[in-house]
Symmetry: C2
């Protein structure tokens, strides 16, 4: 649709960013990823991480998740799927319900926008934060 998947060179930094991202099932923010990558590449700069995440998202290698909350998050899985975000700690996990493609057609009838895609974001409280709350309430 837009400029389609420009091929990008796989530098050491990009390779390691990709590996670290693929390692985790959660959806780290850029600075979380920065911390992970820095353990293997201590001299890497934050700017490099941001630049490359953006680049790799543009070229379709990874998924940029722009959900509620302030920070962008990234996902090594590029297939369409939905997410849930903990409204307390901000953690983001996958939700495994089937993707509803008909939504786009449905929505298209009601708007003058040219629809590109859709995303469902659930909000909730993760198990860790639930336990925290129970403890706090019990006091």
């Amino acid at each position: 649709m837009n400029a389609p998947a420009p091929m990008i060179r796989l530098t050491t930094q990009r390779h390691i960013i990709l590996e670290e991202l693929a390692k985790v099932k959660t959806h780290p923010t850029a600075s979380e990823l920065y911390d992970m990558v820095r353990k293997r590449l201590p001299r890497i700069g934050l700017g490099t991480v941001y630049r490359n995440l953006e680049l790799m998202a543009d070229s379709g290698m990874i998924l940029k998740i722009e959900v509620g909350g302030t920070q962008k998050r990234f996902d090594a899985t590029t297939e369409a799927h939905y997410h849930i975000r903990c409204s307390i700690c901000g953690k983001v996990d996958d939700i495994n319900i089937p993707v509803i493609n008909e939504l786009v057609a449905q929505a298209a009838d009601t708007t003058s926008y040219l629809i590109i895609g859709h995303h469902i974001e659930f909000t909730g409280i993760c198990s860790a934060c639930q336990q925290h709350q129970n403890k706090t309430l019990a006091q």
Copy 2:
């Protein structure tokens, strides 16, 4: 659930912020609202706008929309509904398709999160930006 809807005093500033928000069908950001309100209340501070939007959202008077993109947006309509965001200019509009409450039950079966709610966000290109694109391509 959390602290439920604390009643807040309706000061002049809050009243005008509310009026200006209700006036528009789009979903302005805090600083867009700030600009609108400043025409009627030139000495109002940005901080006041932020503080009050946050407060009014907490007390259920307005809706805070945390969709993709960097800025929070606000909505005078508090009933559940879905949105579409222009991926070029960032504008947000309503999408009038029925709310699918079953999604929450469906998702609940697949996760350890305590689910609070859900939101569907479509992405697309608004008509203004579509025209822009056509012009640009035609050159």
